[in-house]
Structure formats: C-alpha cells, structure tokens
C-alpha cells in the first residue's frame, strides 16, 4: 500500500502537541500569570518546530508515497478511518506551519495585552487544526480539521482584532464555511461513487466497501465519469478557491487581514491561504483529472485576473496592511497559474511559491505589525524617512520587500521564475500576463517602501521611534534566512517535493488529450529524477 508507518507517532506528536499545550494552559496556568502563559506557548510551538525537522530529514524520496503514517479504524461501519501520513509536499507545509506558529506566538508578547490566556490557547488550537489538515488522508478527518481551525481563527480576529473586527470575523467564518460545506457534498459524492468505481477497476467483492481513504480514491479517479467529475470539481473548487482566495471569492481576505491582530495575519497569510492550494494539489488534481484538464482555461483566466487586479488594487492602497493583503491575492494568483499549467515546472514553482509567500508575506505582516505597535497607525502617508530613525527595521523591510517582488538571490525569484517557465510551456499568453504581474508587484512594493522609508522625517511623532528590539529581530531573522536559503540553494526544497510533483502529474496526465514528454530542463531542479509520467506509482489501475 501507499503507506510507511515508521515513526508514525512522531507525526501525531507534532500535530497534537499544540493541542496538549492548549489544554494544559487552560487548566494548569492561572490567567493572571501571563508571563508563564507566554513562555509556555513559545516553548510548545518552538519544540513543535524542532520535532518537525526530523520529518524532513527522515523522509525518503524513493519510499512509500505517504510516510510517518498512522492508520486506524475510526468509524468502521461507514468506512471512516483515522489516517495520518505525509509526503514531501505536506512536510514542507508542516515545517512552514510550525515555524510561523512559533513566530506568531513569539511576536505577540507585547502586541496582545488583554485576555492573554485565551489568546494563546486559541493560537495553539489553531496550530493543531492547521497541521491536521496537512496530515489527514481520510476525507472526513480532513474535513474535521478543515473546519476545526475556523473557530480559533474566528476568535483571534473577533476578540483581538481592529475596529471592524466583528464584521471581519463573521465574514471570514461564513465565507469559508459555505465553501467547506459544499466541499463536503463533493466528498460524499466521491464516497458514494466509490462502490461503482471499485466495480469498474475490478476490485468489487473484496469487502472494501465505500471509503473516504484518499489514496484508495486516487486509484479509482480515472474511472469517474466526466459529468460527475465536473460537479465534484466544482464543489471542491468553491471550497478551495474561497480559501486561496481566488478572484472573485477574495473579498473576505482584505477585511480579515486588516482587522486581525498581527499574529493572526501572519498565520492567515502564511498558512491558511495555503490550505486552498494544498487542497487543489492534493485532492482536485489527482482525484478529478478529467475535470481538472477541462478547467485549466477558466482557472487560468481567474488566476490572471487575480494577479493583475490584486496588484492594481494593492497599488491604490493607503494602508500598509491592506496593501500587503491585496498583494496576497496577486501572489496566490501566481501559485494557481503555475499549478494549472499542469507541467512539472509549473507545479514545482507553485509549491515553492506557497512556501515563499508564507515566508515573505508573513514577514511583511510582522513588519507592519511592529510599526503599528509603535505608532498605532498603518497609513503610508503618516510615515516617511523611517530609514533614518529605524535603520535596522528599514534593512529588514527592504530584504523582505525584495524577496516579495522576486529579486534574484532571494526566494521570490526562484518561485516566480519556475512558475513562469511552467506558464510559458502551457501558453505564452499566460506567461506574458503573469510576468506583467511581477512588474506591477515591484511597482507597488517599491513605491510603498519609498514613501515610508525615504525622504525627510516629516512627522514629529516618528522622530523618536525605537529600532527593533531583540525579540523582534529574532522573529524576523529565521524568515530572512529562509528567504536567502531558497534564493541561493533551492535544491533541497525541490528534491523534497519532487515525488509529489511526479505523482500528481502522473495522475493528471491520464486525462490529458496528448501524452507529452515533460521537458527535462526545468530551472532549479536539474537533478530531479525523471520519473516517467506513467511511472511505478500508477499501480492498481
């Protein structure tokens, strides 16, 4: 089967450690002992990150599809199982989640001054919810985690958010909930189709019954008739597109981002948006290849609209946080276009760009939060000449800005370049539109940087602002290190995701009208093992 259960306990530990931390905090620490609460949460998330590192080191690219697996019965009478397991792609996202979780907790020490206990409990619960989504390989388990994480995020926005927090919080919750309940119907349709699907591949009569097990459903995917695939794809699409968010489902994002506290924005941009793209790569593409291939055209159009529209709206923003929020719409459009190019370069770039976006945008929100904490104002017009007052802050901000707009030697470049190659291989019009997004991105980011940091210090309130303190530096340094690492030597990242990329493409290609040989020369992954499109993983069909 597709599982390797070695070290399965480790994955469970990584996933549930924050939950245990939240329960301990709730019952064992008094709410007045804020210092203990903060440090306890920091230690828990820090240890969680350290525990996640062995997942990467122990992952074997030539091993089973899903490693560190746990497989147990949950509700056997209806075929629901408890299945955890990760491949290189989910390991990357788990690393990102644990790192950003740690940073989110550590960056909140002074930003959150009331109801700290509940705040850290919700942050920890959110961590478990998000990681569960990346670990779960049973549809119902996946759905449970998918919805569970909405609740803590709702509270993070709703309790500790800005002036319009109530509106933003419920809007976030309802948008994502509507998307996810429709996804649930898609899941159920797959579940009930499975019986017929088994018969089609000659597996009936083995007592397998209906199942929610994702790897089993992969095997039957090519048998699903096109009409059904279309409807299931549509149901999944609504769920994932709202999360990404794709144009025109993006309207919750600016509200949620602007009102959320800094740590909430970091997690929201860094991890929650990746759930949508994760869903596409893990579920939509391999499970519904025919519908995916048919959807390429209009998803490409929506992604291009998101790239250009997001960038143009970002350019018009007066509020720094809103600007970063809209830049997310644009960047996630890149991720989508790379993914739906349906070739190795595009998918690699898309996955890498998910990580890049988590790192760069997470760092940008942190930086905006830092200045907001000092001035309680995020309007670009309020600032100017900050480079003189806060030189270190300006330096960090510059690095992250450049990373976000894709300057070579930084992470954004590698991701965007790989995506552009993939887009070009698919259609040169895609590549042209996508490239114009990069230009616009450079424009709005650099323009903001110029207005905030250069020139004379005009506003007296900005004169005495303190530069970054030690804690703030340490929240940013890991992200900057990763930005340079990916920019200079992305190979470990590409190697980690390679098996996933090959498998996903092999599963999609059964529905492609032609079977093109994938061009071997793709940037950033020169040594990628060229597993044929119909390699060993398609067994069982």
């Amino acid at each position: 089967m597709a599982y390797d259960e070695t070290y399965g306990w480790l994955l469970n530990l990584v996933c549930y450690l924050p939950l245990a931390g939240a329960i301990l905090t709730a019952f064992a620490i008094s709410k007045d002992n804020t210092r203990a609460i903060k440090w306890f949460a920091t230690v828990i998330t820090g240890v969680d990150f350290l525990l996640a590192i062995p997942l990467w080191l122990l992952y074997r690219a030539d091993g089973a599809e899903f490693q560190f697996a746990t497989k147990a019965a949950w509700i056997p009478s209806v075929g629901v199982q408890y299945i955890f397991g990760v491949d290189g792609f989910s390991i990357l996202l788990i690393m990102l989640t644990t790192l950003l979780g740690f940073i989110a907790v550590y960056s909140s020490f002074t930003a959150i001054t009331e109801r700290e206990k509940e705040y850290y409990i919700f942050l920890l619960l959110l961590q478990t919810g998000m990681m569960g989504v990346f670990c779960a390989l049973d549809f119902i388990l996946f759905y449970v985690f998918w919805e569970v994480m909405l609740v803590p995020m709702y509270f993070l926005i709703g309790v500790w958010g800005g002036p319009r927090k109530l509106y933003a919080a419920i809007k976030f919750f309802l948008y994502t909930l509507v998307g996810s309940v429709l996804m649930l119907l898609g899941i159920l349709a797959l579940y009930f189709y499975h019986g017929d699907g088994l018969a089609a591949v000659g597996l009936q009569g083995l007592g397998l019954g209906n199942t929610f097990e994702i790897p089993v459903l992969y095997q039957m995917a090519p048998q699903i008739p096109g009409g059904l695939q279309f409807w299931i794809f549509l149901a999944f699409f609504v769920g994932f597109a709202i999360k990404v968010p794709m144009f025109p489902f993006h309207t919750w994002l600016p509200d949620a981002h602007v009102e959320a506290p800094t740590a909430g924005s970091v997690i929201l941009a860094g991890v929650l948006l990746k759930m949508g793209t994760y869903g596409f790569v893990r579920l939509s593409l391999p499970l519904l290849p025919e519908a995916t291939v048919k959807a390429v055209g209009w998803i490409g159009v929506l992604a291009i609209i998101a790239i250009i529209y997001g960038a143009l709206v970002a350019m018009a923003q007066k509020d720094m946080k809103k600007l970063v929020a809209y830049s997310s719409v644009s960047h996630m459009g890149f991720v989508m276009i790379g993914m739906f190019a349906l070739n190795a370069a595009g998918l690699r770039g898309s996955i890498l760009q998910m990580i890049n976006h988590g790192v760069s945008t997470g760092a940008l929100f942190l930086l905006v939060g830092i200045i907001y904490e000092r001035r309680h104002n995020r309007m670009i017009a309020e600032y100017g000449g900050l480079a003189k007052v806060m030189p270190l802050y300006a330096t960090f901000f510059l690095i992250i800005t450049l990373s976000s707009i894709g300057l070579p030697t930084l992470n954004g470049f590698v991701g965007e370049f790989t995506i552009l190659i993939g887009a070009f291989l698919h259609s040169w019009t895609w590549a042209i539109f996508a490239a114009s997004g990069i230009v616009l991105g450079a424009a709005y980011m650099l323009w903001m940087y110029q207005r905030v940091f250069f020139g004379e210090v005009k506003n007296d309130k900005n004169k005495g602002l303190p530069d970054l303190n030690l804690r703030e530096r340490w929240t940013l340094i890991p992200l900057i290190v990763i930005a340079f690492w990916i920019g200079l030597y992305p190979k470990p990242f590409f190697n980690l995701m390679e098996p996933t990329v090959n498998r996903v493409l092999a599963r999609v290609e059964v529905a492609l009208p032609r079977t093109p040989a994938q061009p071997a020369a793709t940037a950033g992954a020169e040594t990628a093992p060229e597993a044929g499109p119909h390699g060993h993983e398609v067994g069982g069909e």
């Binding site: 509700i75 056997p76 927090k165 509507v178 649930l184």
Partner: protein, 481 residues
C-alpha cells in the same frame, strides 16, 4: 388475554403508576419538596429503562405485543432509552427552576411522566390506533405543561395557541387515518404495508389519507408550513418545558413518522416523497432565515428547532436504511445539544423572564469562562461544526440524502447550516466579543443540578462527536421492517 401478556408492557405500567403516585404526592409536597419529587421521577425513569433493557435483552428478536398493538424492536428500544434520558434531564433541570418560580412541582413531574408514557407508545406503536392514542397522551400533557405558569400571560398565550393548532392537526391526522383505514380496511401497519406491496395503488382516497397523515406529522415535528405555533409556544412555556418539548416530543414524532412512512406507506414512496422534499426544503430555509433576526434566545432556539426538523426530514426523504438510522442518530445528538443550550437559558433566568434576550449573554466569558466555553461548544454543535456531535449527526443525514440521489436538497441543507452559524454566533459574539465595553457582565445562577445536567449534555456531545463508532455500529444494524 392473560396477565402475563402485560409483562412486556411493564415499562409503560411503571411510568403510568409513578405518574399517578407523584401527582397525589405532589398535593401536600408540591411546593416544599420539588427536588425530592424530581428525584422520585428520575428513579421511576431509571426503573423503566432497566425494564426496557431487560425486555429487549440480546437474543430477543423483535416482536409485537398486546395483540400487535405495540412492537418491541431496536428502534423502540433506542427511543425509549433516549426519551427516558431526555425526561430525566428535564426534570432535574426543572427542579430548582420550579422551586424559584413558586408554582410547585407535583403536577409538573407527573405530566412529564405522562408525556413520556405517551411518547413510549408513539415510538413502539404498530397500529394506527395505538400510535394516535400515544400521540394524544403526549400532546395533552405538553399542552398543560406549556401553560404551567398559570398566572403568566405569555405562558397562557403559548398554551392556547399550541392547543388550538394542535387539536386541529390531530383532527387532520385522524381524518387521514380514517381514510387510510377506509382504503385498506386495516389499522395494522404491517398489514397496510403488505396490502400496498401486493397491489400498488394510486387510489385517491388512500393517497389523500397518506397526505393528511403526513400533514399531521409535519405539524408535530414543527415543519414548515405547519410551524406557526412553535415560536409562541416555545417562548411562552416555562424554559424547562421548552427544552423538553423541543427534543422529546420531536424525537417521538420522528419515530412515529418513520414507522408510518418508511414502513407502512413505503410502497407509495413516489407519491409522498415530493411532499416531504418540499417540506424539508421550506423548513430548512424558513427556520434558519427567520432565526437570523430573533433577539429572544428562546424564540431563536424555537426557529432553530424548526430548522433542525428540516435537516432530519432529509433522512425521511432519502427513505433508505441509512436515512432511517441517521434520523435516529440525529435525534439523539439534537436532544443533548439542545437540552444543554436550554440549560444555560435556565441558569441565566435570574429574574422572571430575564436571560432570554441575546444581550443578557454579554460579557459572560469574563465572569464565567468555563460556562461560556461550554455554551460555545453547544452553539458549535447546533451549527454542526466538528468535532462536536452536531457535525456527526448532520454528516450522516447529508450522506443519506446524497446517497439516495437528492443532491439538490443536500445543497440547500449545507448552505442553510452555514447560515445557521450566524445566529448561533450572535450569542457567542455577546459572550466573548462584547467584553470590556459598556456592558454589565451577565449574572448566572448557581444551581448544581442544572450545571450537572449541562455537563452530561456536553460530555455526550463530545463523545458522540469524537467517537461515535459503537453508536453508529449499533444503529446501522437496525432494521425497521
């Protein structure tokens, strides 16, 4: 009939006896010893459950008793245990409430036991006549319970509205039964089914009878368009009664609904399914949309209970084995999450009808963080968010609808359950997000019994949500026919 023929009827006999004894004992003790009377009622219910379990011990095949009037099968046992639990929780929640109200408790516990007796007959009836008798016994007891606060205008208003409309619906139901009898010549459910199987029939008299029976049942489960009594009756009734009638009679009515339609009238499914489809869609849409604007918590929960009846109707529309057992599971889940939510309304009713408006929940999280967290849990459960039992319940209902091919109805159901989150979270917003502003934190009563019952409900909602395995396995083996 020999006296030994009544042995399988012992649970009901115990309930009836205890009901009468407590009514008599309540005359001298009603005001002073409310809590003792409640404990006595719980003891009677416990004895009943033990008898139910003994009579349906493993190895005893489903069989009918008392000349085929009642049947003892898995569904009957399930509902009998569930209804005994609902009644016990209600009585324990009500004890302190009645003490504070000064209305006394003898009649209250007696009426609850009588209603429970009626519901027992409803869930195990195998004959249109016995089903109707059970339904009327339940309904009459609940009419009185709604008007239990005889000096409160709202209580009286609710009772009168409920009674008038309830009597009308019973008449409709009875007329439907008589038409079915006229067309088939029998009142026995199995015989009706056998006859319909033998010659599928589109005889208009029969169809009209089935439709009228359906209307009567839709009234009893508070489905649109027969729901108009619900908000007023729920709002006016004493809160423990509201809690009880929103779960107990509803569960019993669904049991009766299943017995009538999924067994007896099953061969005519193509005729009645369209009506239930429309009723389910209308109920889910109307219940959820109307609940959005309610500022009175009891009224909001009334509309929410209408909406939940709509979800449960999905299982009947599916008319598959999965549809049936998912309705049963949902009745259990809904009973405990709704009772838990009403428990909080009771605790907040420190002065008269205070604690009923949504604003009374403001700042609850600050003064009572634990209580607020549990209330949040119930709200999440009612909205169907995992890992609560509310999600598990809805999952199977939706799955049954999708599995039977009613995807359109399932789409309505999931969209509406997303809508429902908005009004449940209006309470959450008050508890958690309106803190530190210009509000006086809500004041809660200390009533150990209610707190304990809320705890029980929370645990059930958690356990069924996280590990429903044994329950689902047991229910899945259930067969109605």
């Amino acid at each position: 009939m020999t006296p030994s023929g009544f042995v399988p009827f012992l649970p009901e006999i115990v309930l009836a006896t205890a009901g009468f004894l407590l009514l008599v004992a309540g005359i001298p003790l009603g005001r002073r010893a409310t809590r003792q009377l409640a404990l006595a009622a719980v003891a009677a219910l416990a004895v009943t459950v033990v008898l139910v379990l003994v009579l349906a011990r493993p190895g005893v095949a489903p069989h009918s008793i008392l000349g085929d009037m009642l049947v003892i099968d898995r569904m009957a046992v399930f509902f009998k245990i569930l209804l005994a639990a609902v009644s016990a929780v209600t009585v324990l929640m009500a004890a302190g409430y009645l003490e504070r109200s000064g209305y006394g408790g003898g009649e209250f516990v007696s009426l609850i036991l009588c209603a429970t007796l009626g519901m027992y007959v409803m869930v195990s009836g195998a004959n249109l006549a016995s089903l109707y008798v059970g339904l009327e016994l339940m309904a009459l007891s609940v009419y009185v319970l709604v008007g239990y606060f005889k000096l409160e205008a709202r209580s009286n208003e609710g009772a009168v509205k409920y009674f008038v409309l309830g009597a009308l619906s019973s008449a409709v139901l009875l007329y439907g039964i008589s038409l079915v009898y006229g067309a088939t010549g029998t009142l026995d459910l199995a015989a009706i089914r056998a006859q319909l199987v033998a010659l599928p029939d589109s005889n208009p008299t029969l169809l009209l009878g089935i439709v009228l029976v359906g209307f009567g049942m839709l009234f009893k489960v508070a489905a649109v368009p027969f729901h108009v009594w619900t908000p007023d009756a729920y709002e006016g009734a004493p809160t423990p009664v509201t809690a009880f009638m929103s779960v107990g009679p509803k569960a019993a009515a669904f049991a009766m609904f299943l017995r009538l339609f999924v067994t007896a009238f099953a061969p005519e499914v193509d005729y009645w399914r369209i009506i239930l489809w429309l009723a389910a869609a209308a109920t889910m849409i109307y219940g959820n949309v109307a609940a959005l604007t309610q500022d009175n918590v009891k009224r909001m929960l009334a509309y929410s209970s209408i909406a939940h009846a709509g979800y449960a109707l999905l299982g009947l529309v599916a008319a598959t084995p999965m549809g049936t057992w998912s309705v049963l599971l949902y009745m259990l889940v809904y009973a405990f999450m709704n009772l838990g939510a009403f428990g909080f309304v009771i605790l907040l009713e420190s002065r008269g009808y205070a604690g009923e408006t949504i604003a009374d929940y403001a700042g609850l999280a600050r003064r009572h963080p634990g209580a607020a967290a549990i209330m949040l849990w119930f709200m999440l459960a009612l909205a169907g968010i995992p890992p609560t039992a509310g999600f598990m319940g809805k999952l199977y209902l939706f799955a049954a609808a999708v599995g039977a091919g009613y995807v359109g109805l399932a789409v309505i159901a999931v969209i509406m359950s997303a809508v429902s989150l908005y009004y449940y979270f209006r309470i959450v917003v008050q508890m958690y997000l309106r803190d530190g502003e210009d509000v006086e934190p809500a004041h809660m009563l200390r009533d150990r019994w209610v707190e304990a019952m809320i705890g029980v409900c929370a645990v059930v909602t958690l356990v069924v949500g996280v590990y429903p395995t044994p329950l689902v396995g047991w229910l899945k083996a259930l067969s109605l026919v």
